[in-house]
């Protein structure tokens, strides 16, 4: 009996093994998530930044402008999953459609903020928040923080680096620092209080990168601070002088001789007038019948040569710090300024708003607020950042 039983058990076990091996074929790995990107480095890409990275355009932001961000385009080139904190249409706030009349997407009845789209993602890859300076990537609660409604809507009670860490980042892009100097430029008044000192900038910027590396980031690309004096929101005083000479301004809008070019004895080529001041305040008042005068020598709202020098020095200092950080950490570095300078020299960035064409008031490279890059510019920046990444890591993001 024992022999018979042993044979029976042996046969049973044999059949069981055959069955188990056959059934193993029921496992189906093809049901797993989509294939990871070609490069392990880009498995989890996270973007930190401010309004540019967030996809803010024409003084507004919504799901459509968010998808136009260079960060989204870069992720597509990486072939990696990239989630944005999508805002409902028409936006929060809705982008301008005509900056001269103030019309926005959705019309006059549109809500000021249409809130976040649902269902929300579990994690976000684009943690950038409009208005964020370097400090804001680290803290939403600091006395100097620039936290705003979008800070909560995008980050939901965490900081940029905290949300970035949740993604278990393998690669990061950081484009921060513009708002450490931009506020001063747009206000037309530059003081030590509204421009972050290089020492403080260095400390905060290093902390952001340290925390990203601690979260697992193996590489990244650091984008230099844009030369804020190159944005078309800022027009030379001489451009206003020329406009008056050509009769493009109403009779109630006077432009002082101080705004004339140097050849005519003025300082107009060395000064910049913020659009918000020149058009938003002076022109609006003049059109209302109030006589106004733009004075490039004495008007505190006009950026003087000294102030422009201060801004330029700050930007140069920031970018030296950023480039040094990139070199030290072995990350890629990209500065957008040479390209934007070329575009300005080529006339693609106008010196003075094209009031005859309000839907392209600031040309093809900038959106309708004259500060934030257009979708065309985002495409250009994404390509150049991809080149910088390829050059550093030997990848092949660029076509």
């Amino acid at each position: 009996m024992t022999t018979f039983l042993q044979q029976a058990v042996r046969r049973g076990l044999y059949l069981l093994v055959i069955a188990a091996l056959t059934l193993t074929a029921c496992e189906n790995d093809s049901l797993l998530s989509p294939e990871p990107p070609a490069e392990d480095l880009f498995t989890n890409y996270v973007a930190l930044g401010n309004s540019i990275t967030a996809g803010f355009q024409s003084d507004g932001i919504n799901g459509q402008t968010q998808q136009a961000s260079y960060a989204v385009l870069l992720a597509q080139q990486m072939g990696t999953s990239f989630t944005v904190p999508e805002l409902n249409l028409p936006g929060c706030p809705p982008p301008l459609t005509n900056p001269l009349t103030g019309e926005r997407v959705g019309g006059p009845d549109a809500p000021e903020c249409a809130l976040r789209a649902t269902p929300p993602p579990r994690r976000i890859n684009n943690t950038a928040v409009p208005g964020a300076a370097v400090l804001d990537a680290l803290s939403n609660l600091d006395m100097e923080s620039n936290a705003n409604t979008l800070t909560t809507l995008i980050l939901g009670g965490r900081t940029q680096v905290e949300r970035a860490a949740e993604v278990n980042p393998t690669f990061a892009s950081v484009w921060l620092g513009n708002n450490d100097v931009l506020g001063a430029a747009l206000s037309g008044v530059v003081t030590p209080d509204n421009v972050t000192s290089p020492d403080v900038f260095q400390q905060r910027y290093s902390a952001v990168l340290d925390q990203l590396e601690a979260a697992g980031a193996e590489g990244g690309v650091l984008v230099g601070v844009a030369d804020v004096t190159q944005v078309p929101h800022l027009s030379p005083g001489a451009a206003y002088f020329g406009a008056e000479q050509q009769g493009a301004l109403p009779p109630t809008f006077q432009v002082d001789a101080s705004c004339a070019p140097a050849a005519l004895g003025g300082v107009g080529e060395e000064t910049l007038v913020p659009f918000g001041y020149g058009f938003g305040e002076l022109l609006t008042a003049a059109q209302g019948g109030t006589e106004v005068t733009l004075n490039c020598g004495a008007d505190a709202r006009v950026l003087s040569a000294e102030e422009l020098t201060s801004l330029g020095t700050a930007v140069a200092s920031y970018n030296a710090i950023i480039e040094e950080e990139a070199t030290t950490r072995g990350w890629a570095y990209y500065s957008p300024n040479p390209t934007f300078a070329q575009l300005r020299a080529a006339g693609d960035i106008p010196l003075f708003p094209d009031v005859q064409n309000p839907t392209a008031l600031f040309g093809p490279i900038f959106s309708l607020d004259g500060v934030h890059p257009s979708s065309t510019a985002h495409e250009l920046v994404a390509e150049e950042i991809a080149d910088a990444i390829d050059a550093t890591y030997g990848t092949s993001l660029s076509p």
């Binding site: 009996m1 018979f4 039983l5 029976a8 058990v9 049973g12 076990l13 059949l15 069981l16 069955a19 188990a20 059934l23 193993t24 029921c26 496992e27 189906n28 790995d29 049901l31 797993l32 998530s33 989509p34 990871p36 989890n44 999953s81 904190p85 903020c113 809130l115 976040r116 649902t118 269902p119 929300p120 993602p121 579990r122 994690r123 976000i124 939403n140 609660l141 923080s145 936290a147 705003n148 409604t149 800070t151 909560t152 809507l153 995008i154 980050l155 939901g156 009670g157 965490r158 278990n168």
Partner: protein, 472 residues
């Protein structure tokens, strides 16, 4: 060579009776902890389990015909008592699409008891009694698992208590049936997602719309229902077509269980802090947990009553038995289970807004093939194979019951060491196909579709069963 069998002595029988009582005591002691893999449990007897559960046309002689086909009680001679357990060991994991991270299922070993008694009152009249657990569920996941928002520790068990009677109508036809008293309890534990809660109820604005990401747990909920009792029936017929071929069928009625219980909620810290300019208008630095705390003391998350109901589905089984040789019996069963009656599990709260667990189950189908070979009068080997389709459609594969198609080979051994005593052992490997599923519920206004699926469940199980049977 066939071994001769010698009846055992009376003292041995006494010792074995004591052993049987010990086993039965163990079963009852663990009944409160009885847990089961999957919603339907077919392992109601080790002998039948070893055959792949094929028993409708020829139930095992251990009293389990109370469940598998009450008609089989007719023709029983003397008393038969049996008791045993099926131990279900669930293994597997869930792999998330977006991160590739896997989380192992953390279910404990489920111990499912069964106890039967059968008595042949006359040559034609048989009586029986059984206590078994045909429906049960126990799935446990780590509390930090993303699917904890749908349930991380869920228990459901329906114990069927069934007195039965069977009668042999003719030499070839038997019928039987029994009243089923179902005693059922359910406990659901899950985390609640802040993103899905209303931040501004008057305007219908959710926290998700204010930037709170999905899967931000802020509370743990326990829905604990008191045991519910309801009545059903289990009926069967068995016919011998020839001396070697018989057929049988069983029908178990659906049983609707209505539960009353208590829902309690505990706050889970989010550690979120509101910055300046937040849409709630709170001062910068306000901890969100402090804002939410009121919900647990005087809001919708106070401890409150809850009502729910679950219908244990109908089952129909038809089977064929062929005595191929003197020693070899071949069996084949088909089972239909009416799961389509279970569209959702309503959760009617005393204070909070009513909710429901959407299931949308489909009727399921099983094919079971089994074989039993008597090596001699002491030893019997059994084997079987089960294939079953899942009840859950593609859109409701969740941590609660992440089921899929299953292929289940079985193997068993029976031994009769003494006269009137039989010990059965069985092993079953539950090979479940990988299946995509989800870890979250639908948002308000969102449809439950496969678009919600966000990962892959890979779950298998091992079942070890043993039953001791004594006949007088």
């Amino acid at each position: 060579m066939k071994q001769s069998y010698t009846p055992s002595a009376q003292p041995q029988r006494t010792r074995l009776l004591a052993s049987l009582m010990l086993v039965l005591s163990f079963c009852f002691l663990t009944a409160n902890d009885a847990q089961a893999q999957g919603f339907g449990i077919f392992e109601q007897g080790t002998c039948a389990s070893a055959r792949g559960g094929a028993a409708a046309a020829n139930p095992c002689e251990d009293g389990s015909s109370v469940y598998f086909n009450p008609a089989g009680l007719a023709g029983t001679s003397g008393w038969t008592f049996s008791g045993g357990v099926s131990n279900i060991i669930q293994v597997g994991d869930y792999t998330a699409d977006d991160t590739g991270e896997s989380t192992d299922v953390d279910s404990p070993v489920s111990v499912v008891p069964h106890v039967y008694a059968a008595y042949g009152a006359t040559d034609r009249l048989g009586l029986g009694f059984g206590v078994y657990v045909p429906f049960g569920l126990n799935t446990r996941w780590p509390t930090d698992f993303r699917g904890a928002l749908l349930g991380y520790d869920n228990n459901l068990q329906s114990i069927y208590i069934q007195p039965s009677v069977a009668y042999q109508l003719t030499d070839r036809i038997k019928v039987g049936g029994g009243l089923v008293v179902s005693v059922s309890s359910v406990e659901l534990n899950q985390r609640l997602d802040l993103a899905q809660q209303l931040a501004e109820p008057d305007q219908g604005v959710t926290f998700a719309q204010l930037g709170i990401p999905r899967n931000t747990p802020f509370a743990e909920a326990t829905l604990d229902a008191d045991p519910a009792v309801s009545i059903g029936g289990n009926f069967g017929i068995q016919a011998a077509l020839t001396d070697r071929i018989s057929v049988g069928a069983r029908f178990t009625t659906p049983i609707k269980m209505e539960y009353d219980g208590e829902a309690s909620f505990r706050q889970v810290a989010t550690d979120l802090v509101l910055p300046a300019g937040n849409p709630l208008g709170a001062p910068a630095g306000t901890p969100l947990d402090g804002v939410l705390q009121q919900s647990f003391t005087e809001g919708p998350l106070v401890t409150q009553g809850i009502e729910t109901e679950i219908t244990m589905p109908a089952q129909f089984v038809a089977g064929l038995s062929v005595q191929a040789t003197e020693r070899l019996n071949l069996l084949l069963d088909y089972q239909w289970t009416g799961w389509s009656t279970l569209e959702d599990v309503p959760l009617n709260f005393e204070v909070s807004t009513d909710d429901a667990i959407v299931l949308n189950y489909n009727n399921s189908h099983n094919i079971r093939a089994g074989a039993e070979f008597d090596i001699d009068e002491v030893w019997t080997v059994r084997g079987g194979y089960v294939y079953n389709r899942p009840a859950s459609p593609d859109e409701t594969v969740t941590p609660l019951a992440p089921e899929s198609e299953r292929n289940r080979p079985t193997l068993g051994l029976g031994v009769k060491p003494f006269a009137g005593v039989e010990l059965n052992l069985a092993y079953q490997f539950v090979n479940q196909n990988d299946r995509r599923g989800r870890t979250r519920g639908a948002d308000p206004g969102e449809q439950v579709t496969t678009d919600l699926n966000d990962g892959l469940y890979r779950i298998d199980a091992h079942v070890l069963a043993t039953t001791l049977t004594v006949r007088f």
